[in-house]
């Protein structure tokens, strides 16, 4: 499994996509926070005027909606198109190990991206008393959200075996998950379903985690969400073998 993760990470680092991902992510985070403000709110570091970083970290899911699907889209389709999947799946490794290996490689790249955001909390902590609890919670939350998006992307790649299709479907799904529970979106869905959409929403759970409240239910939600898609992914591979 680690061999597969390592192989994928290498192939990431050999391709422009990893660097585009890292640069775009860092630029988006810093740009939104310091220059043009959060989408839909226009809040920047300077207008908030305190050292709480919840606005900064609330940018993460927005960035991930496009960037994680873009990064995840190649993990399966490349393999399916070039036929190397036939090599991989005829080695003595199980399908779930291959899926998890690919997932770990993507997660590692997300983690590297998150490391690039570290300078912001470090710099901001120089301006006043810094509460590191929420920062820690926000990193956990970012990794969980990134992982969940990644698992959707992986699954879609295996299902569609076409990069562009996988990207569009994944990005749309991720966007939906982020927007769900938003008051604006709730206007379009029946009142009875509000509780449902709020429960599914990534944003509200992310916000709680980002405040440093590492709640079991929220963590469990993200991890089980991810697990479901990884299992679905394995099922897709197994189904391809036919019965």
């Amino acid at each position: 499994m680690m061999t597969i993760a390592w192989k994928e990470l290498r192939s990431f680092l050999n391709s422009p996509i990893a660097y585009i991902f890292l640069i775009a992510f860092t630029a988006w985070m810093a740009g939104s926070y310091f220059v043009w403000g959060k989408v839909g709110q226009g809040v920047t570091f300077f207008s908030v005027g305190n050292t709480a970083l919840d606005v900064y970290f609330s940018l993460v899911p927005q960035a991930f909606v496009l960037l994680v699907p873009a990064m995840a889209m190649r993990l399966w389709p490349d393999e399916l198109k070039s036929g190397t999947v036939e090599l991989l799946l005829t080695y003595p490794v199980r399908s779930w190990q291959v899926v998890c290996g690919k997932f770990l490689a993507g997660l590692a790249l997300i983690a590297i991206g998150l490391c690039f955001t570290l300078p912001v909390p470090l710099v901001v902590s120089g301006y006043g008393e810094m509460d590191w609890g929420p920062v820690f919670g926000a990193y956990i939350a970012s990794l969980l959200v990134g992982g969940a998006f990644l698992s959707i992307g992986l699954f879609m790649g295996a299902l569609c075996s076409e990069q562009v299709t996988a990207f569009i479907v994944t990005a749309a799904l991720c966007l939906l998950l982020v927007l769900m529970g938003d008051t604006l979106i709730n206007l379009f869905i029946p009142r009875e379903l509000h509780a449902f959409s709020n429960a599914l929403s990534f944003s509200s759970r992310f916000t709680y985690l980002g405040r440093g409240v590492v709640d079991f239910a929220d963590t469990f939600y993200f991890t089980s969400f991810t697990a479901v898609f990884l299992i679905l992914n394995t099922t897709v591979l197994e189904t391809r073998k036919g019965v």
Partner: protein, 317 residues
């Protein structure tokens, strides 16, 4: 003990039946040629043996392990070169082989030593640091072969290993197959008949998802190859030759007569014993005073067998 046992294997792709009751066995240390026209089910059979596809019905076992129930054990024992040689193009040869080895649980000095052995065997020495996407078709094929041999597998399955290679490379690959086939079980899928004839001790011919022949190439030629051929050339005119042979010409088979550069040739598809016919014909031309230029007995080749078996089936369907 049979290394590979396939029993009444079926595979359906939707409503299309790709394999329809395929059964055969391969013994330890045997090089088996797996022949068939395109789309006959060769590759499907190999994909089932390597655990990449599950059969719809029937059973296949490798070294006693069922391909469905014990897929990982099966895959551990097989070295597989898929059709079209898929490789990770962004890696160098060394990186690629190392990754393959690790995926097979190899490491340390053993992996290094095996990488040395297989790159030596496949003459990959000069290309070890080259990224795979820069390699020619021939080198790609060798990398695929090296990958399949890396873990000293008991069973090696090669799907069309010489497609797209130039004649020298073909001879190279054949040499490698023969060498590793000395102490291992090899299945060589191909539709290049001369290759199979040159390398394999036994041949299975598959057509439209069914096995239509199974045996040594020579035995198959005798059994399925159709009438033996006898060709006789003399210096002289076609009419002279015809006259000379007229006494023995009845009931021996279909004959064709040609003449070129003062040499007349008769070719007979024998319905009688060709050796006996040859003796009679020689006596007849000698009696007529025609100088004999050549007398060629023609065996039915594997190609004849292949064409007869795979087109006959096509006509019936």
């Amino acid at each position: 003990m049979a290394m590979i046992e396939v029993d009444d294997l079926r595979k359906d792709y939707g409503s299309f039946r790709a394999l329809d009751g395929v059964s055969f066995a391969v013994d330890k240390g045997e090089i088996l040629g797996f022949l068939g026209p395109n789309g006959a089910g060769k590759t499907t059979t190999m994909k089932i043996l390597t655990g990449f596809l599950y059969p719809s019905a029937g059973r296949a076992a490798v070294a006693g392990h069922d391909v469905m129930e014990n897929s990982v054990e099966v895959r551990r024992r097989i070295g597989y070169l898929p059709e079209h040689t898929p490789l990770y193009d962004d890696m160098t040869v060394t990186e690629y082989l190392r990754t393959c080895g690790r995926l097979r649980g190899m490491s340390g000095p053993y992996l290094a030593q095996r990488m040395n052995v297989v790159t030596g065997l496949t003459h990959l020495g000069p290309k070890l640091r080259a990224p795979i996407h820069t390699l020619s078709k021939g080198y790609r094929q060798r990398v695929g072969l090296a990958q399949a041999l890396l873990h000293e597998p008991e069973i090696i399955i090669l799907d069309e290993p010489t497609v797209g290679l130039d004649p020298n490379q073909v001879v190279d690959v054949r040499g490698i197959v023969r060498e590793v086939g000395q102490d291992r079980t090899v299945i060589l899928c191909s539709h290049i008949l001369s290759e199979v004839e040159a390398v394999c001790g036994r041949v299975v011919i598959i057509n439209r998802g069914r096995i239509v022949a199974n045996g040594a190439p020579a035995a198959l030629a005798l059994e399925h190859g159709g009438p033996a051929r006898l060709s006789l050339s003399v210096r002289g005119a076609a009419l002279q030759l015809e006259a000379a042979l007229s006494s023995i010409a009845t009931g021996v088979g279909t004959a064709t007569l040609t003449e070129a550069d003062g040499i007349a040739t008769v070719t007979v598809l024998c319905s009688v014993d060709p050796a006996e016919l040859a003796t009679k014909a020689m006596d007849a031309v000698r009696a007529a005073g025609l100088p004999l230029v050549a007398l060629t007995p023609g065996h039915a080749s594997l190609e004849d067998v292949f064409r007869r078996l795979t087109s006959r089936q096509g006509d019936a369907a």
